[in-house]
């Protein structure tokens, strides 16, 4: 797909109900054009993961997701051999009296016994969008390994050979910044810090994403969200939470944000008991 400018990309993303500003659109545009991974950093719920999903939708490419966690290793990220089937094959060969080792080896390390994990899958699927989600949760050793894969989009499998991507996947790496990610990895990528949206943009997002939402409700929820983000909370709500919250209100048939309904649905926006208590205790929902 030919996307000629960042403005054009804003328009395309908008068609998929994702409202990007100039910075994010330029970042994604350059990632597509330059074939570079896009490193998105920002607080939870600002729409990092959502961007990858939307890019996949608009490029009509499958989204392949690698969710990072502590202890994630190469076998879980790249590929693994299907041990059970390999053994069965060996047993069958044994029964048939086949003893030619090199022949057996060739058979066992065949592509059909290989289980592709997300990175290999992304390299083999074209086009594809690879989402490396929450890289800050993986161990730092994993970064060096990821850097290698993202540098030349090649995976070498000792028993099988090298797999290289014809067209590299579009890569989005996200981080919530719970840990500093190594600079070498960031240097490979385009770096974008994603902020919470401003008031107007948030209203627009609510209206764009939730068809039943009235302008009054969107304005009131966005204003409340803004106040919640300024209040001293453990986990201020992101856009994802405001969307959930509004959806909860809509489900209850709310046309406006009245204090009772707001309190009843607050759990959709705030995920810590302390936060809910603080907000209700300080009457943060009652004005406006």
């Amino acid at each position: 797909m030919d996307i000629e400018s960042p403005e054009k990309l804003i328009e395309l993303l908008d068609r998929h109900a994702y409202l990007a500003d100039e910075g994010l659109a330029t970042a994604a545009f350059l990632a597509l054009r330059m074939g570079r991974p896009l490193f998105l950093e920002g607080e939870a719920g600002v729409g990092k993961t959502e961007l990858a999903k939307t890019l996949a939708a608009l490029l009509k490419a499958p989204l392949i997701r690698l969710q990072c966690y502590e202890g994630l290793d190469a076998a879980q990220a790249l590929y693994d051999w299907d041990f059970a089937r390999q053994l069965l094959h060996l047993k069958a060969a044994e029964a048939a009296g086949i003893t030619d080792v090199s022949r057996l080896e060739g058979e066992i390390y065949d592509r059909r016994f290989l289980i592709a994990r997300p990175l290999l899958k992304a390299i083999e699927t074209q086009p594809s969008v690879l989402l490396v989600d929450e890289i800050d949760r993986a161990d730092d050793e994993f970064e060096a390994f990821l850097l290698e894969v993202l540098s030349d989009f090649t995976i070498s499998i000792p028993e099988l050979g090298t797999v290289k991507a014809g067209t590299p996947p579009v890569v989005v790496v996200t981080s919530n910044r719970t840990r500093e990610v190594h600079d070498a990895l960031k240097r490979r990528c385009l770096y974008h810090w994603l902020e919470h949206p401003g008031f107007d943009r948030e209203v627009a997002i609510l209206l764009r994403r939730l068809p039943g939402c009235t302008e009054t409700l969107a304005v009131q929820v966005a204003r409340a969200a803004e106040r919640l983000r300024q209040a001293d909370l453990v986990k201020p709500p992101g856009v994802a939470e405001t969307l959930d919250w509004t959806e909860a209100l809509l489900t209850l048939g709310a046309k406006e944000l009245d204090p009772d309904r707001a309190a009843a649905t607050l759990g959709a926006a705030l995920k810590y008991r302390e936060d809910v208590a603080a907000v209700i205790g300080n009457g943060l929902l009652s004005h406006g």
Binding site: S5, P6, E22, G23, T26, A27, F29, L30, R33, M34, R36, E41, E70, G71, L72, D73, W81, F83, Q86, L87, L90, K91, E94, T99, V101, L104, E105, I108, D139, D140, R177, T178, R179, E180, D183, K186, R187, L190, Y191, H192, W193, V234, E274
Partner: protein, 358 residues
């Protein structure tokens, strides 16, 4: 070099002077990015630079300032933050009258002498004695308790090692023996917070040297922050092999020597940005909290939920009659796994021993 490349290289240089890591590779990325954009559009140039040259949220305000300055037609005038030298800072401290020897005369290091020094409060030592204690600290073998990692090594028992079993079977022509593997281990991370406020001044240097020893022994599993009125990461500075150089580098980045302590707010900032999951959190402070003790309590509660252990190192704990009565200490106590002394070489040796077996 064409004009655009020259302009952009100059801009990157300006950024580097302002503390943004806009190195050569990043500058090349910027030029590549501009191939795809409209270079006459100020907005597109702004974003191309920001996306390729910046690497942390802290870079962004600097980037904005430099961009305005550079492309506004004037070169940015950059002032480096005034640096304080830790040695100068510590030299200004009044020496305690109780200390025995004359300053500056290096005493011979004998075993018995070191044994005596080992148990003395570092705040009550002469410069020469303290230097000796610091030399001993640098030699501290900071082992670290290990925890299970997700990686494997081959072993006699444990989980089935599928790859090896298959390899063996191939070689022998039959599945003769199952091979096993087990998890390797990795050092348990430590996050240390060193209070550099006024009341901690007599201990700050020693604590930082202890932190240096921790970083040197497990560079990848130790993170250190100075706390006072601001949370400042100092791990990178402490990575220098030489403790003197490391401390000097640390002194350049800590902006709040000898101020008050707002540990609650700083822990909150830490927890908002980073995580202490699975780590041993070491807080080195006397607990003279200037902020709200209640806030300190709630933040420590959060820290305790994340961390493997929370250990508070208090220099005054070394005295038999010490009671944790300050507001900060009282608020913190319910959430601590341990409150230990941190006033003498012996105390640090014990702490180090603890970390090796925690």
């Amino acid at each position: 070099m064409d004009e655009l490349a020259a302009t952009m290289t100059g801009f990157a240089r300006t950024l580097r002077a302002a503390g943004v890591a806009a190195d050569h590779e990043r500058t090349q990325n910027l030029l590549r990015a501009l191939d795809h954009l409209d270079v006459t559009d100020q907005g597109e140039v702004y974003w191309a630079g920001r996306l390729t040259l910046c690497a942390t949220p802290d870079d962004l305000p600097r980037y904005d300032r430099c961009f305005d300055a550079y492309f506004g037609g004037r070169k940015a005038v950059l002032s480096r933050a005034a640096t304080t030298s830790v040695t100068r800072h510590l030299a200004e401290r009044q020496d305690d009258g109780e200390s025995g020897d004359d300053d500056g005369t290096p005493a011979p290091a004998t075993a018995s002498r070191i044994e005596v020094l080992r148990h003395r409060d570092v705040a009550r030592l002469t410069e020469a004695e303290r230097a000796e204690v610091h030399r001993m600290l640098a030699l501290l073998k900071g082992g670290r308790a290990r925890r299970r990692s997700r990686r494997f090594e081959s072993a006699h028992r444990g989980r089935l090692d599928q790859r090896r079993t298959i390899r063996d079977a191939l070689r022998k022509g039959e599945v003769a023996r199952l091979r096993h593997r087990r998890h390797t281990t990795r050092p348990r991370p430590v996050v240390m917070f060193v209070d550099v406020s006024g009341s901690m001044a007599p201990y700050a240097e020693t604590l930082l040297r202890f932190a240096h020893a921790l970083v040197r022994s497990e560079p990848r599993a130790t993170r250190v922050y100075s706390v006072g009125t601001r949370l400042t990461p100092i791990t990178a500075e402490l990575r220098h092999r030489d403790p003197g150089t490391a401390l000097n580098e640390v002194s350049k980045v800590i902006p709040d020597w000898s101020g008050g302590t707002r540990l609650g707010e700083e822990l909150k900032e830490y927890l908002a940005r980073f995580s202490a999951r699975g780590a041993i959190a070491l807080i080195a402070s006397d607990g003279w909290e200037r902020g709200d003790p209640e806030l300190l309590g709630t933040q420590l509660a959060r820290l305790a939920r994340q961390a493997y252990r929370v250990i508070w190192v208090n220099p005054h704990k070394g005295y038999a009659d010490y009671q944790p009565l300050t507001g900060g200490m009282r608020a913190a106590l319910p959430y601590l796994d341990d409150l230990v002394a941190g006033h003498s070489l012996a105390a640090f040796e014990q702490l180090s021993e603890r970390l090796a077996h925690a």
